[in-house]
Amino acid sequence: MVRILLRFAEDLVEQPITSQIILELKVPINIITAHVNSKGGEILAEIPDNTLDKTVKAFRDKGVDVSIPKLVEVDDEECFSCGTCVSLCPVEAILVDKDGSVIFNREKCVGSTCSVCVDACPTRAIKSVKQLGTVAKAAAKRRA
């Protein structure tokens, strides 16, 4: 499975685009998180690897901005593996290695849609990639 991040500009939010693509392509799209605000919406979804190209193309054809999500960024210089973030993660994507190192599992992480760990880090080593902010940019690009 591969994760894709779908960003819907304001004017696309009300259209049933995801359902249409599921029906048209018969791709089992697993929605992990979904958010809507005044600037648009975003969906973090999981799809089978071999459907990646056609699914991404289908979303892009309908004006949706598609990216492979980079979910959290961890500054390895600043992180000293205290572990504060570990018990906060709702999807258990942060683990402690045998030697005490804190490991981020980017496959499991739901990223900026969650961000519960970000303000708990005592050295501010975790940054969630702001995703909704780029929706407006994506929309502008599409209109151009």
């Binding site: 593996s81 030697d99 005490g100 804190v102 005592p122």
Partner: protein, 502 residues
């Protein structure tokens, strides 16, 4: 003739002689435990000269004393800031103390005294601003300059409470996330945090303070430092020992000394401490064999904003390090605030120093107190609690008619009616406004106007906190409930303003 060595003891002098020759046997505390388990105490005592320990945690009662040298004309600093962080001026003209928890006036919670210390340690230039009232001998009233650690006469880490032997495991029973010095605690006990290295902790490996005392040379922030006394709040007999330490910060390394920002709590300093335990006798070999499962602490509810927070249960460090604990039949994920990884690194580094003859051991010049007691504050003026101002609540059942509630509001002259179930437990709240609107809009059922998500308080909550909660939610009353949700009374903003005079 050579003296016959005593088979049951060795001295620090014996060990130092071996260190000098480069053949002292040194193990980290974790290695020592494994050796004792595989070969027994006798063998471990015979083979091991020194056990090294380590811890790396947020230690708020830390700071650094600096001397900047005199300006021309000289100044007797009255107020000072480094990188916008207010600095104490406890002594004469240019001696300043950078407290780890002092926060930047421009970026509070993100940058503070701990970060200033880290920046100085890293050789960065910092910005000093100072003001003074001016005297005949110190005429200057204003000063601004850029400094690095090389410009300072002295730069000493001087921490008055470090290296807690063990610490609470924190949990939050409230229905909102709280931000504490134990980190971010999710509501409804969804996570727990702890601090301390457990079996690797220095004081846990010498719990009777046989070898750790005033003058003990230690690893401090990546350099050599000293124990200068017991830390504040030290209580050895309950295994809550602490240390006061000092070390030359100019020689320290930010890998083992790191500024930290704890959201909505403040700034702090992560301090790395490692202490060598000389294995002078069989007893010390045995003590350094202590395992995580024998080190207990309490799960404490930080959701209760009181000094004596409820202790929910005991838990040991093995359970804490496993990643989850069971609290009242529920699995709760638990993680550490202190870094075990860096604690291990410290124990290894100290071992290396000793093996390379770069570090020799000291005997304490004075023992630390074993009988001191950590007392609570004597308060001559108490603070009011909810219990002191709450009064009986007017209640109703959800089955009652809106008209009945309206007349109860009038006869009892109240604005809030608490809806209770058959057991007297809180089920909702209605205000005179809800009822007025219901009558105006001809709503028939009380159920349609009841607010179900009720913000509440408890009798033992400080009134100030209850009052803040009312302000936060923009409401004028809080039902007072017990732990089971039974309604005990109500406290209103009127009660609060009468008492607190605002």
């Amino acid at each position: 003739m050579l003296p016959i060595p005593n088979q049951n003891t060795r001295t620090v002098e014996d060990i130092n002689a071996k260190i000098k020759k480069g053949d002292a046997q040194v193990l980290t505390a974790e290695e020592m435990k494994r050796l004792v388990e595989s070969s027994g105490i006798e063998v471990a005592f015979k083979e091991v000269d020194v056990v090294t320990t380590g811890t790396f945690g947020a230690m708020c009662s830390s700071g650094a004393i600096i001397n900047t040298g005199h300006s021309d004309p000289p100044i007797k600093i009255d107020e000072a800031w480094i990188n916008d962080v207010p600095i104490c001026h406890p002594g004469a003209a240019v001696d300043l103390y950078i407290g780890a928890t002092a926060m930047s006036e421009t970026t509070p919670f993100e940058y503070g005294g701990g970060h200033v210390i880290e920046d100085l340690v890293n050789g960065k230039e910092v910005d000093l601003k100072a003001t003074a009232y001016g005297t005949d001998c110190y005429p200057r009233t204003q000063l601004r300059t850029q400094l690095t650690k090389d410009d300072l006469n002295q730069f000493y880490l001087l921490n008055f409470r470090n290296c807690y032997q063990r610490y609470n495991c924190a949990i939050n029973s409230r229905d909102e996330t709280i931000y504490t010095y134990m980190g971010k605690l999710l509501p409804h006990r969804r996570n727990a945090t702890f601090s301390g290295a457990g079996e690797l902790n220095p004081l846990m490996n010498d719990p009777d303070f046989e070898t750790i005392g005033i003058g003990t040379r230690i690893f401090l922030g990546g350099a050599q430092g000293y124990v200068i006394g017991e830390g504040t709040q030290h209580e050895a007999k309950s295994q809550n020992g602490t240390l006061m330490v000092r070390g030359d910060a100019k020689k320290m390394n930010s890998e083992f000394l790191k500024g930290a920002g704890l959201t909505k709590y403040g700034t702090s300093l992560y301090v790395g401490i490692g202490i060598p335990i000389p294995i002078l006798n069989l007893g010390l070999a045995k003590k350094t064999a202590i395992r995580d499962e024998a080190i207990y602490t309490s799960v404490v509810d930080y959701g209760v904003p009181r000094r004596d927070r409820p202790k929910l249960q005991k838990v040991n460090y093995k359970e804490l390090k496993s990643g989850s604990i069971v609290v009242e039949d529920k699995r709760v994920r638990v993680s550490s605030l202190s870094s075990l990884k860096v604690a291990r690194k410290i124990a290894c580094k100290l071992k290396e120093w000793i093996q390379n003859s770069e570090f020799s051991l000291t005997l304490p010049v004075e023992r630390l107190p074993l009988d001191s007691v950590f007392k609570p504050m004597r308060e001559t003026e108490g603070t009011p609690f909810v219990a002191g101002v709450m009064h009986a609540a007017v209640t109703c059942r959800e089955s009652e008619s809106i008209r009945d509630i309206a007349s109860r509001i009038v006869t009892r002259s109240v604005n809030h009616i608490i809806v209770v179930d058959n057991q007297g437990k809180i089920a909702g709240i209605v205000t005179s406004w809800d009822i007025t609107r219901a009558m105006a809009e001809d709503v028939k059922a009380l159920a349609d106007v009841v607010s179900r998500r009720v913000v509440t308080t408890k009798p033992d909550e400080p009134l100030e906190i209850a009052s803040k909660r009312m302000a936060k939610h923009n409401i004028n009353a809080l039902p007072v409930i017990d732990n089971e949700g039974k309604v005990l009374g109500i406290v209103t903003s009127e009660d609060v303003s009468k008492l607190l005079g605002r």
